[in-house]
């Protein structure tokens, strides 16, 4: 049987030279993402902002959005957002947090239920009070920091500190770009998004670690190879694995994206962006070449390769 070869056996791409393009591009994209975050903002969901979210399905025929908007607008609940969600029968209702503490949120839900009556099925109701939303946000942020810190410590133990730092820079870059993506698409930023970010962090590091493992092995084996050549060789040797693995992960994510339903749609879309697009690019074009600047293997060069360096222009 003829087997599929996506990446030919002996690739010799000069990934390191590309760093002169990839670093400025990444820097620029990161700046864009950060400014997006500050000027365009994230679409905070009720987990972090408090308020009410109701998913209702019309019992007979398509939902009449205009009529619902008129009914709910007259309740005096502040801004009421209505959105078609999935099929034409499904509507997502969002209420901003009501002034007056936790009891006021429950009262608002009751008002909506009374107003819409028995014409709709209540498929999902989520109410997050002001104190809980504050706590969830700080948990989310602290959790993300904690994860980054814990992974940094782990990498520091397993590799030299330059690797740990390189991986960190690369992966903070992933997180920043993904947040930029979330800002552009304005997907609901909620607890699930934190889950997506953490998963992206985990997998993107997974990828970086595989390449770093190979670099470390090469450093031990080829004491005289120049750093860019060594990095190039490492990335090229692991290229086939990177591509195949990302294809399988993409296939799995694609299935979730197409058939997983809208409940996890933004979760998988974010993951697709973070893991597949950004994660792969980062490990190859950022995480590996940055080691040159962090001074990996410089001590080794000085020990053994002074004449060789002269020989190469």
């Amino acid at each position: 049987m003829k087997l599929l070869r996506i990446v030919p056996d002996d690739t010799k791409f000069d990934f390191m030279r590309f760093r002169r393009i990839s670093f400025p591009i990444s820097a620029l994209l990161s700046i864009i993402a950060i400014s997006l975050y500050f000027f365009h903002g994230l679409n905070f969901g009720i987990d972090f902002r408090g308020g009410t979210l109701m998913e209702v399905q019309s019992k007979a025929g398509d939902a009449d959005l205009a009529k619902m908007r008129a009914t709910l607008g007259g309740l005096g609940l502040g801004e009421v957002q209505l959105q078609q969600f999935g099929t034409p029968r499904d509507v997502l209702i969002r209420l901003a947090e009501q002034p007056g503490g936790d009891a006021a949120q429950q009262a608002a839900v009751q008002k909506v239920r009374t107003a819409l009556g028995q014409d709709v099925e209540y498929r999902r109701v989520e109410v997050v009070g002001p104190r809980v939303s504050g706590e969830l946000l700080s948990y989310g942020v602290v959790g993300l920091m904690l994860a980054i810190f814990a992974i940094l410590i782990y990498l520091w133990f397993r590799f030299e500190w330059q690797f740990a730092l390189g991986a960190m820079i690369a992966n903070v870059h992933d997180i920043v770009l993904t947040i930029g993506f979330m800002s552009i698409t304005q997907v609901d930023f909620d607890l699930t998004s934190i889950a997506a970010l953490l998963t992206i962090l985990g997998y993107s590091l997974n990828d970086t670690v595989v390449i770093y493992d190979r670099i470390r092995e090469m450093l031990r084996r080829y004491k005289k190879m120049s750093m860019p050549d060594l990095l190039n060789a490492s990335v090229n040797q692991t290229l086939s694995r990177s591509v195949i693995t990302h294809l399988t992960v993409s296939l799995a994510l694609l299935a979730l994206l197409l058939f997983g339903g809208h409940a996890i749609h933004s979760f998988t879309a974010t993951m697709m962006f973070g893991v597949v697009l950004v994660g792969t690019y980062t490990s190859v074009f950022i995480a590996a070449p940055i080691l040159i600047y962090l001074g990996v293997g410089t001590g080794r060069d000085a020990l053994s390769a002074a004449p060789e360096r002269d020989a190469k222009p």
Binding site: V210, A252, A255
Partner: protein
């Protein structure tokens, strides 16, 4: 790397088979599994987002606990000073303290000594902290009694404990399956009730304090008169209203509680024999019956108020002494209202009001849809990955697919063993694990390809491929595991479900990569003695 002793091989296979077997109960109907031995019944619990249900987070009103505690302290101060015949003025709750002025001529030294008995060591006699429930300070003739913070916290803790018991009784009356009631932090209670169509009734039951009092109606003046004269009721009385649906009629009610709801032993819904209106009939314990008999004997012909959560449900006139210790409440109830009140009275009053601070409810329709979508996407995802792996690695791809299939079965086994909760994001975690699990095989196989190119013999190449790749697999999976662990720690509900399947998936992936895949390949090598590696 390719050599397994017979025992080792057996141990690996046995582990995998046993773990997979734990998943078996999930595939049989519930009624059937219930007849199996207890240890074999462990199964995956569907999360609220899949089976539908309500997640409600309640908070005990700590301020109310503090207020009540201070009012009790004030009443104690009054009692102590009266018993000791010490004159006082200006007894009141101010901020966090109770203040009282000792009248001139009385010995304020003696007063503060007497009041000292209200302050107990915290944590009983054995409490070694040296802290007391009340700090007492004197400033001339002013005595200030302050509740200490540890005393308040202790009281809130007790209030939460009591609330949990009462909530349990109330929720169990709803007849739902496997409700979960759990303390969260210091002052919160989590209630999860699966399979509830409409949580309104549950919330109604949880939101009521159900503090029932029997009190006398103050007839020295009328509520209308009090309201007309600037709303200043007599000091020992207060104005309370009938519930909204009865028209909020005002009543002037004495503050003194004649019999409290805590003395009820039973409450049942029923119908009045004459008017066939829904009622709640109740029965007192011995002490309550005695108090009730005495009160009704002394007040024949006067109205008597039944007060629930500071609302006057009814205020009938006592026609004759009630000596039997039982009676009935009628208050224009609906059948369901009478039923709920009976539940609340049986379960007892909450020590403090509860507020709903978070609610997440998923209807059964959406849950069913999510299950269908989860299934479909898993099958499609798995199928695509299997085909792709087979196309890329042929026979070895088949080995990888077998390993991944066992991997997924093992995830379900471990989930069952832990009685873990499976949520929709949890299913996504499993699908993702399928993608990641093949990564370990990809790492191994790519390494083998490299070793072949480096000129090793097939068996050598396979051996070296495994030993070199396994270190990398371990390193790369630990980072993801750290992320999953943090997520488990900070997440709630569905997100935690994702962390659980992701974490377990990583463990089973590492296990299968290190043992099963190796074992399969080792047996194949021993059987075929390959001249070339077929990848």
């Amino acid at each position: 790397m390719l050599y397994f002793t017979r025992w080792k091989a057996l141990a690996v296979i046995l582990t995998a088979v046993v773990v997979c077997l734990f998943a078996v109960p999930n595939f049989f109907p519930k009624e059937m599994v219930e007849r199996w031995p207890k240890w074999a019944q462990r199964h995956v619990v569907l999360g609220l987002d899949l089976q539908g249900g309500s997640h409600i987070l309640l908070e005990v009103d700590a301020a109310a606990v503090r207020r009540e505690k201070l009012e009790a302290l004030r009443d104690d101060v009054r009692r102590v000073l009266r018993d000791a015949r010490i004159g006082y003025t200006g007894l009141a709750v101010r901020g966090n303290s109770v203040e009282v002025r000792i009248r001139e001529g009385a010995n304020s030294q003696q007063a503060s000594q007497k009041l000292q008995e209200l302050s107990q060591p915290l944590g009983g006699i054995l409490g070694a902290s040296g802290q007391r429930t009340v700090d007492i300070a004197t400033d001339g003739d002013l005595v200030r009694l302050t509740m200490t913070d540890p005393a308040i916290i202790e009281r809130v803790r007790q209030a939460v404990e009591q609330s949990i018991q009462i909530i349990e009784r109330r929720v169990n009356e709803l007849g739902t399956v496997e409700p979960l009631i759990q303390r969260q932090g210091v002052d919160r209670v989590l209630v999860q009730v699966p399979g509830l169509q409409d949580p309104s009734r549950l919330k109604e039951l949880l939101g009521k304090t159900a503090k029932l009092d029997f009190r006398l109606v103050d007839q020295t003046t009328t509520p209308e008169q009090v309201q007309a004269q600037g709303n200043r009721p007599p000091p020992e009385s207060e104005i309370l209203f009938a519930p909204q649906k009865q028209g909020r009629q005002p009543y002037l009610i004495e503050k003194r509680v004649m019999v409290s709801g805590g003395e009820l032993t039973d409450a049942q819904p029923g119908f009045d024999q004459r008017s066939s209106e829904p009622i709640v009939s109740f029965r007192f314990n011995t002490a309550g019956a005695r108090k009730f008999a005495q009160t009704t004997q002394e007040n024949v012909g006067k109205p008597f108020a039944i007060v629930l959560d500071n609302e006057v449900i009814s205020a009938p006139v006592i026609r004759e002494p009630i000596l039997g210790g039982s009676g009935q409440i009628s208050g224009s109830f609906t059948v369901e209202g009478a039923n709920d009140l009976a539940i609340l009275l049986r379960a007892g009053a909450l020590p403090a009001p509860l507020t709903i601070i978070e609610e997440r409810t998923v209807g059964p329709g959406l849950g069913q849809d999510s299950i269908e979508k989860g299934k479909l996407s898993s099958y499609v995802g798995a199928a695509m990955v299997i085909v792709f792996m087979f196309a890329t690695y042929g026979l070895f791809g088949l080995f990888a697919n077998i390993a991944v299939a066992i991997n997924v079965a093992m995830i379900f086994g471990v989930l069952s063993l832990l009685n873990a909760t499976l949520t929709l994001p949890g299913i996504a975690g499993i699908v993702l694990t399928v993608g990641i699990a093949v990564d370990s095989n990809v790492l191994i196989y790519e390494r083998i390809r490299e070793e072949v190119r480096a000129g090793r013999t097939p068996i050598n190449a396979i051996d070296a491929g495994f030993s070199r790749a396994l270190a990398t697999i371990l390193d790369s999976n630990i980072t993801t595991f750290i992320a999953a662990a943090v997520l488990f720690y900070i997440g709630t509900g569905p997100v935690r479900g994702f962390a659980v399947t992701l974490g377990i998936g990583i463990l089973t992936t590492v296990f299968t990569a290190f043992t099963l895949t190796r074992l399969i390949v080792a047996y194949w090598v021993r059987w075929r003695r390959p001249q070339r590696v077929p990848i």
